[in-house]
Subunit: 191 residues, 2 copies
DNA sequence: CTCCAAACCGAACGATCGTTAGGGTGAGTA
DNA sequence: TACTCACCCTAACGATCGTTCGGTTTGGAG
C-alpha cells in the first residue's frame, strides 16, 4: 500500500471519528489531503472502503493486543493484562478505536455482518477469561461470566469517550481491574 | 404540543437511533409519518430541533429517574437504586436513550455546550454517591470516586447497545451492583 | 531522450439534501 | 353559511452529495 494511500486511511479515521461517517464528505477528506476531491479516487474505490478498512484495522489491533496476553498466568492476571491491552489500543489508536466502536454500523451489506461476527469473537475471548477464573477457583463460584464480561467490556468500549493518550493508561487499567476483582466495599484480600 | 407533533418527535428518535442523525433524511421522516416531506415543516422549524428535543427529553428522563432515589438510605443502596433507575430509563425509552448517548454530538452551536453541561451535572450526581459511600465508611477508604463512578457510568452508558426491553432490567441492575460493590473474587460479606 | 506510472486537476454527472412557498382539504365553530 | 385552523400537497429552490472521466503534471527508470 502506497504512502499516499495509508495517509488517506489515517485522515479518514480521524475525520470519521471527529464528525462521523455520514458527517464527513469526500470534500472534507480531499481538503485534509490537500487535493481536489476527484483525485481521491486514484487511491480508493469508494467512501465505504475507507470505513471498512478502518474497521479491519481496529479489529486486528484489538485481537493482536489480546494475543500478547500470556497463557501461563492466573486468570485474574490475564484479565488484568487484557484490560491493559484493550485500553492501550484505544489510547494509541484513538481514531481507529472510535470508528471501530461507534461508526461500524454504517458498514453496508455483508461487511456489517462481518463486523458483528468479528466483535462477537472478541467478546467470546474475553468471556472465556472470566469463565476460566471461575472454574479454576480464582473467582467466586456463583459468578455469571456473561454479566462480568459485559461489565468489563462496557468499561473498555466506553473508554474512547474519555481516554486521552499520554496519561498512564496502564495504571488506569489496573485500577479498573482492582475495582472489578476486589469490589468497592473494602474486603479485599491483603496483597 | 399537538399529537401530531409528539408523534414526529417519537419517529425522529426512532430513526435517529436506527440510522443516525446524518443518516436520516427529512424524506425518511416524512415517510415514517406518511406524509410529503414539505409537510413536516408545519410541525417543526428544522431537523436540528428534533435532535435537540430528543436530547432534552433524555436529559429530563435520566434526572427525574435519579430524583426518585430516596435520601434516607445507605449510600450503597442509593447506588443500587441509581443503577436501576438509569437502566430502566434506557429500557423504557431505548430510542431516546440511544440518541442521548450517541447522537448528541451533532447538536450545533450552544446547544452542544448545553448538552455537555447537562451530562456533566448528571455525572457529578453519580460521583457524589460514591463519595458519600466512602466518607460514611460503607466503601473502602482508598476508593477513587472518579474511577468508581466512571466504571459504573460506562456500564450505564453502554447499556443501550445490548439492553432489550422486556427482560428483567431491575435484576440486571442489581447484578451489576453486586459485582461492583463486592467484586468478583468471592470475599463478599454474607447477606 | 523516451517512456511509464503515480498523482492530481477541473469539470461535469445525476441524485439527494434541507428548506421554502403557495395553495388546497376537511372538520369544527360561530 | 361563513370562517378558522390544523394539516397536507405539489413544485421548486440552491446547495451539496459521491462518483466519473479525459487530460495534465511530475519524477525516476530504461
Amino acid at each position: 500500500m502506497s504512502a499516499r494511500r495509508s495517509e488517506l486511511t489515517r485522515q479518514a479515521a480521524r475525520l470519521f471519528a471527529e464528525k462521523g461517517y455520514h458527517g464527513t464528505s469526500i470534500g472534507d477528506l480531499a481538503g485534509a489531503m490537500g487535493v481536489q476531491k476527484g483525485s481521491l479516487y486514484a487511491h480508493m474505490a469508494s467512501k465505504q472502503d475507507l470505513l471498512y478498512e478502518t474497521m479491519r484495522e481496529g479489529a486486528q489491533a484489538f485481537h493482536v493486543a489480546l494475543d500478547a496476553v500470556p497463557d501461563d498466568v492466573p486468570a485474574t492476571e490475564k484479565i488484568r493484562l487484557a484490560l491493559r491491552a484493550h485500553l492501550r489500543v484505544v489510547a494509541e489508536q484513538l481514531d481507529v478505536a472510535t470508528v471501530f466502536v461507534r461508526e461500524w454500523r454504517y458498514l453496508e451489506g455483508e461487511r456489517g455482518e462481518e463486523f458483528v461476527a468479528e466483535r462477537r469473537r472478541y467478546e467470546e475471548r474475553i468471556r472465556a477469561l472470566f469463565r476460566e477464573g471461575r472454574e479454576l477457583g480464582e473467582l467466586r463460584t456463583d459468578l455469571d461470566e456473561a454479566i462480568a464480561a459485559l461489565l468489563a467490556l462496557s468499561a473498555a468500549n466506553w473508554a474512547y469517550t474519555w481516554l486521552r493518550p499520554g496519561r498512564d493508561t496502564d495504571e488506569l487499567a489496573d485500577r479498573f481491574h482492582a475495582l472489578l476483582v476486589d469490589g468497592m466495599r473494602g474486603y479485599a484480600t491483603p496483597s
